[in-house]
């Protein structure tokens, strides 16, 4: 068996992942690149007598890395060892994609060029001459369409061919004047024993002419550096004079652009202009109607989330209650029975009930992303976000924050400027994640008329977003003075979302959620249950048992039983903890149970619901138990419920999100700030809201 290590490189949105997914018999591993939290996809497959390993690098527009993710790709290309590069390009925008291809060819590597989405070009009457292009660039070219599974096997065949081919021909040269300078400088570099191949030296020289800081750092420590530096200066000066340009980087960029243009001219018959995207854009990013349409979409999404998502809630709720009662009867009585039927089942059930809501919200966000609308929303909101010291691109992590804060923190990496990134990450927590949805749905169902439920939910999400913007503005004024980063973003064409990919995403999300409910949330519920049932106070129990035995009527008995349960709970560990923290939350109208539930939300936001379910169920000795919603209505008043919503909106996200933030932001001062300020802000705002509502007479 021979081993081939290949690396897949391409600009963003060229469909690298879909090619990886289309490879048959490939085993996919998802991990991280060393030292950073950038996702690393790696596939291994066996073909004929070859073991092939393909690493998929994050999308990179050019070797002048701009974002931290692009830097990861660049470092990998420069530092790691691999046999063949698989360069994937989008047939629709071949010319632009070829710029990166030309940069890669500067290394004269073993490489194959995969032209993806060829079906889209051909459908519109265009075509690409792969044989000719292959001759011109001196590398194999594969026309492929991951969507139609076309050319996917050829990629592997060509990869092996290229791996086995002994010679690598350089076919692409720049203008003579540039080549002269390259040769002169290469000779100096080759004096250093570090450079054994002329190809490597040439690549370094081109990067140096383009003022690549990473390459500069490498040659800086070489003994030949002084000589090189002097000659480099002269070369750049000659080039600038000769071409009448501002910098050598400009000259090379123009050269590459001209070469790419001529390659496309010789090999591609352009399709008749696709106008679908134009037509849709005319409406969706209309100067006047664009924003209202966007707001309508978001409003619709939250309406659907609540309306459709709540259809099965009552049914699921009843099912879990019945299931718990049924288990109670068939299991032998005792602590085990109680921990399962009073602790775990209702807690897990109270969370699983919200799976439909969460799936709809995720589906919506995924649709925005896959259709290409997300980029339009960023375009529409850029001017607005700029006023708050953010930029349009920050919209993408912010909206992902509605799904889950963890990937949203990672998505903030598309922001290059560290200040912009930090501000965005500091306010991301105010974008309500889907784990908080169950808490809101529960409280809305308990305290608002159903006709308004969707609107209330929308209002909660909007106020979170507005609060985030205000805080961003304050941070920008107080802590991060200076202009936000410039905004330059590709607007991908509209694409019909792949139903298969959507289905896969949803299934994955559902699986993860159920797993979380079954393990983490069940575990947390078990702990809460244990803490709320132990220790017993035998004296108290004896005292009440006597009273109950002496009670005359049934009502008295029930009242006494409830009293005992409540007293037991207060005596338990959790009762004591709750009493300890109660003073902190008392000004918000929280009793100790709400206080405990709030704190438990730091583990995961869904746990707030399961904790409420456990704590309010324990005080309820009535066997034909009412639902959690009714119990909340009996125990909490309206203004307290609102204060709770405000707290949940603002205070620290779950531990998973917090640890992601810590991983992404290495500075201790910011970590400390991030850990403290949302909680202080949450308390202050909840306190104000509570008191204003009290003044208004609620």
């Amino acid at each position: 068996m021979k081993k081939i290590r290949a690396v897949m490189v391409g600009q963003p949105n060229v469909g690298k992942s879909s090619i990886i997914n289309a490879l048959t018999n490939a085993r996919l591993h998802v991990g991280n690149f060393a030292g950073v939290t950038v996702e690393k996809k790696e596939v291994t497959l066996t073909y004929k007598e070859y073991d092939i390993d393909i690493v998929d690098l994050p999308g990179i527009y050019s070797l002048n890395a701009y974002t931290p993710e692009e830097q990861v790709s660049k470092n990998y290309l420069l530092d790691e060892s691999y046999d063949v590069i698989i360069n994937v390009v989008d047939a629709n925008v071949l010319q632009r994609n070829l710029i990166l291809t030309l940069q890669l060819l500067d290394m004269n590597p073993k490489m194959i060029l995969v032209i993806n989405m060829i079906d889209e070009v051909e459908k519109q009457g265009g075509m690409i001459d792969a044989v000719k292009l292959s001759e011109l660039i001196g590398r194999p070219v594969v026309l492929a369409s991951a969507k139609e599974r076309r050319g996917v096997e050829d990629i592997i065949e060509m990869l092996i061919d290229e791996f086995e081919r002994p010679d690598r021909q350089r076919k692409i040269y720049y203008d003579e004047r540039i080549e002269e300078e390259i040769e002169r400088l290469s000779e100096i570099l080759l004096k250093s024993p570090k450079f054994i191949s002329a190809d490597m030296a040439r690549f370094f020289v081109v990067r140096l002419l383009e003022k690549d800081p990473d390459i500069y750092k490498i040659v800086h420590d070489l003994p030949i550096f002084l000589e090189l530096h002097e000659e480099l200066g002269k070369s750049i000066h000659r080039l600038k004079l000769g071409f009448d340009e501002e910098s050598a980087a400009d000259i090379i960029a123009n050269e590459r652009n001209a070469i790419a243009k001529s390659l496309v001219m010789q090999c591609m018959q352009a399709p008749k202009k696709a106008s679908l995207t134009d037509k849709i854009d005319k409406i969706l990013i209309h100067p006047i109607f664009g924003l209202p349409i966007f707001l309508f979409f978001m409003w619709g999404l939250f309406q659907l989330t609540f309306e459709i998502g709540s259809l099965p809630v009552d049914y699921l709720d009843a099912t879990f209650t019945n299931f718990a009662n049924w288990l109670k009867q068939i299991l032998p009585p005792g602590d085990i029975n109680a921990i399962i039927t009073d602790g775990i089942v209702p807690a897990v059930g109270s969370v699983i009930m919200f799976l439909p809501n969460i799936l709809i919200l995720f589906l919506g966000i995924n649709l925005l992303e896959q259709t290409g609308y997300m980029a339009r929303a960023a375009f529409l909101l850029d001017g607005f976000l700029k006023k708050f010291g953010l930029q349009g691109k920050a919209f993408i992590p912010l909206v992902s924050g509605f799904g889950c804060t963890v990937p949203a923190y990672m998505a903030a990496r598309t922001l290059k400027n560290p200040k912009d990134r930090l501000i965005t990450m500091l306010v991301l927590g105010f974008m309500n994640c889907s784990a908080r949805l169950p808490v809101y749905v529960l409280l809305i169902a308990a305290f608002f008329p159903t006709t308004n439920a969707g609107n209330v939910l929308f209002a909660i999400y909007i106020s979170g977003a507005i609060l985030g913007l205000i805080v961003a503005k304050i941070l920008r004024i107080v802590l991060f003075k200076g202009e936000p980063e410039p905004f330059v973003m590709e607007m991908p064409p509209y694409r019909f979302p792949s139903l298969k990919a959507l289905g896969m995403e949803l299934w994955l999300k559902a699986k993860l959620f159920l797993k979380k409910a079954g393990t983490f949330i069940a575990g947390a519920a078990m702990i809460i249950w244990f803490l709320s049932n132990f220790p017993h106070n035998p004296q108290l129990i004896k005292q009440y048992e006597q009273k109950i035995a002496q009670a005359q009527t049934k009502e008295q008995k029930v009242a006494l039983e409830n009293e005992l349960a409540a007293k037991n709970l207060e005596y338990s560990f959790i009762g004591r903890i709750g009493k300890m923290i109660e003073p902190v939350f008392a000004p918000l109208g929280f009793d100790w149970r709400l206080s405990v539930a709030t704190i438990s939300g730091l583990a995961a936001k869904e746990v707030v619901v399961s904790t409420l379910a456990t704590l309010y169920a324990v005080g309820d000795a009535d066997e034909k138990s009412s639902t959690l919603i009714e119990r909340l209505r009996q125990n909490i008043d309206f203004k307290t419920a609102i204060a709770l919503i405000v707290i949940i909106m603002i205070y620290s996200p779950c531990v998973a999100a917090m640890s992601t933030f810590y991983a992404e932001v290495p500075r201790w001062a910011w970590r400390a700030f991030y850990t403290i300020y949302p909680n202080v802000l949450a308390w202050l705002l909840a306190y104000s809201v509570y008191n204003i509502l009290a003044l208004l007479g609620y």
Binding site: V93, A249, A253, N257, K261, T277, G392, P492
Partner: protein
């Protein structure tokens, strides 16, 4: 003429990109380079953000960047 002065639907050939690195490199990577054909597709109400088409790629950019791109009018 500056890109920011064009009207919607107008196209021309890029003559100069005045931006500084690293934003210049990013504009190049998107295809906003001397000699390429650019069309203004849309802008927001206050002309804060612009959408252009360069050789088949749609790019969104801000007024600051649009001011830095010099375009030669093309009569079509």
């Amino acid at each position: 003429m500056k890109l920011s002065q064009m009207h919607i639907g107008q196209s021309g050939i890029i003559r100069k990109v005045r931006a500084n690195e690293p934003i210049k490199g990013r504009l190049f990577a998107m295809g906003i380079t001397k000699g390429n054909r650019i069309t203004l597709l849309d802008h927001t109400l206050k002309k804060e953000t612009f959408e252009v088409d360069v050789e088949g790629t749609r790019v969104a950019l801000r007024k600051e960047e649009a001011d830095a791109i010099e375009v030669e009018d093309e009569k079509d």
